[in-house]
């Protein structure tokens, strides 16, 4: 009943991830970089994906695009559905058809993400000609429009320039234009501002926000900085050591985080009125070795609320209220539902 109501009021998800796992077999053992993450995203929705460096955000982003797939020493399980298609069941050729028109990515470092020996223009015209079949001339005109739209002055001249002739902020604008070139339904922005000057960061995030709104594009905004996600996303998934530990509507998360890790992260965001260069209050301790994580809750060794249960048993991601869930035995300022009900026949995967 309730699901029917939901489906009539809301569009079907453009991105659905169910129990996704990415494992790397390395000399040091198996690295579970993504360890059972589920989420879903509707058109026009913006999801924040936050966590410390090394928590598996980039691997998750690349796996859900299908850029990382089973092969060699890498193993992927679970399901990713983009526009209804199970990405990891597609052939390489079919999957590449999604990259550009259905899903696109903006990468972390604009200094290294453009080919240094190719002019800006071909970075844009390549996907336009490949996916949309535009002629050389039409692709060039479209490239000029795109550069103009992402706020690059004198776009026609820029087409002939090489990446090293542009500043970091300009290069990231180019990367955004490349990602938008085939009008994707889903945009994954993997720490798009981490490598940029503070003054440029806000401009780029604002640009991404306005582009996503005007195109009704579903966006995953990856960041190690909760501050970048606040006020720009509808919902947030907090990742720790490859797992989603809390998911919540953004405003609710900032008002009352449930997971001790989320609470600590929020505590480390500098207040808006703090003087510049205030020393961040970092979280004590270091993330676990991903090739050899602790048995119970992975955050337990750093958690001030941890008890024996936490060191023994991995907490499951459980709903605390509609749209909110937390994976913690002793969450902050909320009670867990009594015994998790298991409705018969239902798949017990939490979907964010």
């Amino acid at each position: 009943m309730s699901t029917e109501v939901a489906s009539t009021t809301q569009a079907p998800p453009v991105l659905e991830v169910v129990d996704l796992e990415t494992r790397f077999h390395t000399a040091r053992g198996v690295v579970r970089a993504v360890d059972g993450v589920s989420l879903s995203l509707r058109a026009g929705e913006t999801l924040g994906l936050v966590g410390e460096s090394g928590s598996g955000k980039s691997v998750l982003g690349r796996t859900l695009m299908g850029l990382i797939a089973t092969g060699g020493t890498t193993e992927v399980s679970g399901t990713v559905r983009i526009a209804g298609q199970a990405v990891h069941e597609l052939s390489g050729r079919q999957r590449r058809k999604l990259w550009g028109p259905k899903i696109a990515m903006v990468f972390q470092d604009p200094m290294t993400s453009l080919n240094p020996v190719r002019p800006i223009g071909v970075h844009l015209t390549d996907p336009l000609r490949l996916h949309l079949g535009l002629s050389r001339r039409a692709a060039k005109e479209r490239a000029v429009e795109l550069l103009d739209r992402v706020g690059i002055p004198d776009p026609r001249r820029r087409l002939e320039q090489y990446p090293h002739e542009l500043s970091g902020g300009m290069r990231q604008r180019v990367m955004i234009a490349v990602a938008l070139s085939c009008d994707p339904e889903i945009l994954i922005a993997d720490e798009p501002t981490t490598a940029l000057d503070v003054t440029v960061q806000k401009q780029i995030l604002d640009l991404l926000g306005s582009l996503a709104r005007e195109r009704q594009m579903a966006t995953v905004l990856i960041s190690h900085d909760l501050g970048a996600v606040e006020g720009r996303t509808d919902r947030v998934v907090v990742m720790y050591a490859g797992r989603a530990v809390e998911t919540a509507p953004t405003t609710e998360l900032f008002a009352a985080p449930h997971h001790p890790y989320a609470e600590a992260l929020i505590g480390s965001v500098p207040a808006l009125d703090a003087p510049p260069h205030t020393v961040l209050r970092a979280i004590d301790g270091t993330p676990p070795d991903m090739a050899n994580p602790p048995v119970g809750c992975r955050y337990a060794p750093r958690c001030n609320r941890a008890q024996d249960l936490c060191r023994d048993q991995m907490p499951l991601l459980l709903d605390t209220s509609p749209g909110r869930s937390v994976a913690c035995h002793f969450p902050v300022s909320v009670a867990l539902p009594d015994v998790p009900e298991v409705p018969d026949g239902a798949n017990e995967k939490e979907t964010v």
Binding site: R62, M105, L114, R118
Partner: protein, 316 residues
């Protein structure tokens, strides 16, 4: 324009240095040219007279500038060994052979190396990669004269696919020339191909780990286009350097191959002249080879500018 002039100035300076080096080197060689020409057992006055006639009693610098002045007009003197031919003529006859061998050899080497490196790097550590790695290693460890002998035995003696004939000049008959040039070119090409493959493969592997390759893949580019359009050019800088050096070096150092295949190239010319004490030829040939070497490397710098826009001069 200013940069071009500066470049030209540099080139002239290097060439002056090279020519002086060549001159000094030959002047310092043991043995008396007069003795070599006249043979032993003449009265000392004869030798002295000939040396004076050849200008050998003049101070070193004066001799250098005279030699250089003539060399600039294309006159490198004449051989001191009968039939006393013009050095320039001997070089003009031998040089095309060597240049053709070197160019053909390198062309074959690149035609082998580039595809092999691309497929090896595409699946790093895969079966193809390991087979190619083993193969190139094996070829590099075989001396090239052995390779040449084996090829001659197989292709000319046993199979009889190619004739064992006198060298045919390219201008006389293209087919006849190629029939004769192809085997030595292959002998030259194989070790170079092995070296090129290893260098390019390693640089490709490194490039493929770059963010911009991931970004290109994320645009939906098929693997072949990622390899050819994105990865190949930024991976080719070391290869270009090595090819340039190989081209410059090969022109004067294909002696073994020239000997094996009895080719009238620069290697044969210099070695024969040196053993006969024919100094003008050694001097002239070395000057030409060294000059070519410098010019080729200047050309390589120009190729760099094309390959890597970051090394291009920024227009003020």
């Amino acid at each position: 324009m200013r940069a071009l002039l500066r470049r030209l100035g540099q080139l002239v300076a290097v060439l002056a240095l090279v020519s002086f080096g060549v001159f000094l080197l030959v002047a310092a060689l043991p043995g008396d040219p007069a003795a070599a020409i006249l043979g032993p057992g003449r009265p000392p006055e004869d030798y002295a007279a000939l040396r004076a006639e050849m200008g050998l009693d003049q101070p070193l610098f004066q001799r250098y500038f005279e030699w250089l002045g003539q060399a600039l007009t294309g006159d490198l003197g004449s051989s001191t060994v009968p039939p006393y031919l013009d050095v320039s003529d001997r070089i003009t006859a031998a040089l095309p052979v060597s240049i053709e061998l070197a160019c053909l050899g390198l062309l074959i080497a690149l035609l082998i190396a580039i595809p092999l490196a691309l497929v090896s790097a595409y699946r790093e550590g895969g079966l193809v990669d390991r087979v190619v790695s083993g193969g190139t290693f094996a070829i590099l460890s075989i001396p090239s004269f052995l390779l040449g002998l084996l090829l001659i035995m197989l292709v000319v003696e046993t199979l009889g696919w190619l004739p064992r004939s006198q060298w045919v000049r390219l201008s006389d008959s293209v087919a006849g020339n190629l029939e004769h040039a192809i085997l030595p070119a292959i002998v030259i090409a194989l070790p170079e191909a092995a070296l090129f493959t290893r260098i390019l493969r390693n640089d490709l592997v490194r490039t493929l780990r770059e963010d911009f390759v991931l970004a290109a893949r994320a645009k939906g580019m098929p693997p072949s286009r990622v390899m050819l359009n994105e990865a190949l050019r930024p991976s080719s800088f070391s290869l270009v350097t090595v090819v340039g050096i190989a081209l410059g070096t090969l022109i004067g150092s294909t002696v073994i191959v020239e000997y094996l295949f009895s080719l009238p190239g620069m290697g044969t010319l210099v070695v024969t002249a040196a053993s006969q004490g024919d100094f003008p030829i050694v001097q002239g040939a070395t000057l030409v080879i060294a000059t070519l070497y410098v010019l080729i490397n200047t050309g390589i710098d120009v190729v760099y500018g094309y390959l890597d826009p970051r090394t291009r001069r920024v227009h003020a």
